[in-house]
Amino acid sequence: MAVVFEKTKALTDKPFHYCPGCTHGIIHRLVAEVLEELNLIDNAIGVAPVGCSVFAYDYFNCDMHEAAHGRAPAVATGIKRVHKDSAVFTYQGDGDLASIGTAEIVHAAMRGEKFTTIFVNNAIYGMTGGQMAPTTLIGQKATTAPLGRVEDHAGLPLKVSEMLATIPKAVYVERVSVHDVKHINQSKKAIKKAFQYQMEGKGFTLVEVLSTCPTNWGKTPVESLKWLQESMMPYFPLGNFRTPEEV
């Protein structure tokens, strides 16, 4: 019988710990497939964050570092400055990257550090149990915003891709989503481009992936995919914000 699908070699056999309906698994697979297709598995060094994907080092079948909360871009800077030819990436959530780690991501982009950041935005703190994130939408309930996020009190959600796109050395910035097959395929293309630009030495590259958190959103997986489209995408529009050609 012909083999029509095989798990990528860039993932280990360890079962994911993610909740049912969470899209981290899809995003892991996309990153891993890109590493394999670009022949980068043996040359990759990844950095896991603190958050739901804290155990990413158990899943990616390449050398990995586990970083302190928000510090992955600084750790990746240290790695890439030592191993200039390696494919270095960080995999970070929105609490990690858009809250505690804003200084690190902005300055890595400012310096044009030649690594790729996969920024998984699910508008909530997942691992710690559903607290408000900088990306939590207005009115969205969280355990630290029990009545929903209020603009006057907590401000408006941070648009990371738009912000980083103002930085000259952030050469590739794109926001994608994984709520259906078409968008999953588009996401993979974006991740692939980011790694290609990295390996060409173009500068800092980031792909923001809109993702679901059924457990902490209090929705079923299907409702979550719908909520992502209907509530997140209008505020966090998909699209490319920077490509190297513009630079």
């Binding site: 570092h65 586990e66 990746a76 790695i79 030592v82 690190e104």
Partner: protein, 355 residues
């Protein structure tokens, strides 16, 4: 090699380069600025990398990444900056990565001041960051010793896979003294068979990590670390003793303060008062045995611990003396440096009281 006149901070930097440090990540703060400034000029000449980070927090995490990647790497800062690095230092200790951290201590707490101080003894030796961990803490009292200890610090870090701190102050960092860059004996160092370099398809992936979600595994990791710390205590404890043989009063002091105390010991001798000095060179591992031994000497009546702090090392001195003899304290802090005359006067005062 003939002796040359070197400023402490620059001498430490050159010593690091001479023993193979090729990566430096730092952030400006007085009184250690000559270290990043020197490195920014010299490291590119050696095909190394100097990077001015956006913060001390970022700098120590760059060190984490570079150390985990197998590089010889250093950072430096001063007290408030070391507070910011504390998180990263804990992770580096937890992940067992070798690196060298220079702390040119200034007065505190808070923004404090920029003059010499020793009020970060607790921070250096008793944690600073979270969790059960230790740093090897080397406390030179001259620019020459700072050079010698810097060269050894990298080997100690590599041998035991742990962060080593060199602790000085504005006096050591800013003062110029004659220095000879000697060849220090090179240690037999283990292969870095844990470093992330990319697998090259030839080995299993490596993970640099300090997360042990299973409490039993986390306890086991702590036990493993402390076995290593026991070995370091056995092998690496360093102390200088001075005129202990017939001393009635034994000073304990380190770094800058130890030089001032030595003058006080000599001044007291001229007045017929027998004094000695125990100078910890490693603050951790602390030379408890030397102090314990002195406490058991019949001629020793008392100890006088002298620090540029309100009294921090004195805790370890008291533990080592274990109630056998009285332990007194004299300190200046906030950037004030004690004078030999003040130390002599304090010694006479307490000796008088003891008679």
């Amino acid at each position: 090699m003939a002796k040359e006149l070197w400023k402490g901070n620059e001498a430490i930097s050159e010593a690091a380069i001479k023993c193979g440090c090729r990566f430096f990540f730092g952030y400006p703060i007085t009184p250690q600025n000559e270290i990043p400034e020197y490195m920014s000029l010299r490291l590119p000449q050696e095909n190394g990398c100097f990077l001015q980070a956006e913060s001390e927090v970022a700098a120590i995490n760059m060190v984490y990444g570079a150390a985990g990647s197998g590089a010889r790497v250093m950072t430096s800062s001063s007290s408030p900056g070391i507070s910011l690095k504390a998180e990263g230092i804990s992770y580096i200790a937890g992940a067992e990565l070798p690196c060298v951290i220079v702390n040119i201590v200034r007065g505190g707490p808070g923004l404090g001041g920029i003059q010499p101080a020793q009020s970060d003894y607790y921070q250096a030796c008793k944690g600073g960051g979270h969790g059960d961990y230790r740093l090897v803490v080397l406390a030179p009292n001259s620019v020459q010793e700072a050079v010698d200890l810097t060269q050894e610090a990298f080997d100690i870090a590599d041998q035991y896979r742990m962060p080593v701190m060199i602790i000085g102050d504005g006096m050591i960092g800013q003062m110029m003294e004659p220095v000879e860059f000697r060849d220090v004996p090179k240690r037999q160092l283990p292969e870095k068979d844990w470093a992330t370099t990319g697998t090259d398809g030839k080995r299993k992936p490596r993970v640099i990590n300090s997360l042990f979600i299973d409490p039993q595994a986390c306890e086991n990791h702590n036990i493993h670390l402390f076995k290593k710390y026991d070995e370091i205590t056995k092998n690496e404890t360093r102390v200088e003793t001075y005129k202990l043989e017939d001393a009635e009063i034994v000073f304990v002091a380190y770094g800058t303060t130890s030089r001032i105390v030595k003058n006080a010991v000599n001044a007291l001798e001229k007045e017929g008062i027998k004094a000695g000095l125990i100078r910890p060179i490693t603050l951790w591992p602390f030379p408890s045995k030397a102090i314990e031994d002195a406490a058991s000497m019949a001629n020793v009546k008392m100890f006088l611990d002298v620090e540029m702090s309100m009294g921090q090392m004195i805790d370890d001195v008291k533990i080592a003396v274990n109630g056998k003899k009285p332990v007194h304290f004299y300190g200046r802090t906030g950037g004030m440096v004690p004078t030999p005359a003040a130390i002599v006067a304090e010694a006479k005062k307490i000796l008088g009281g003891a008679k």
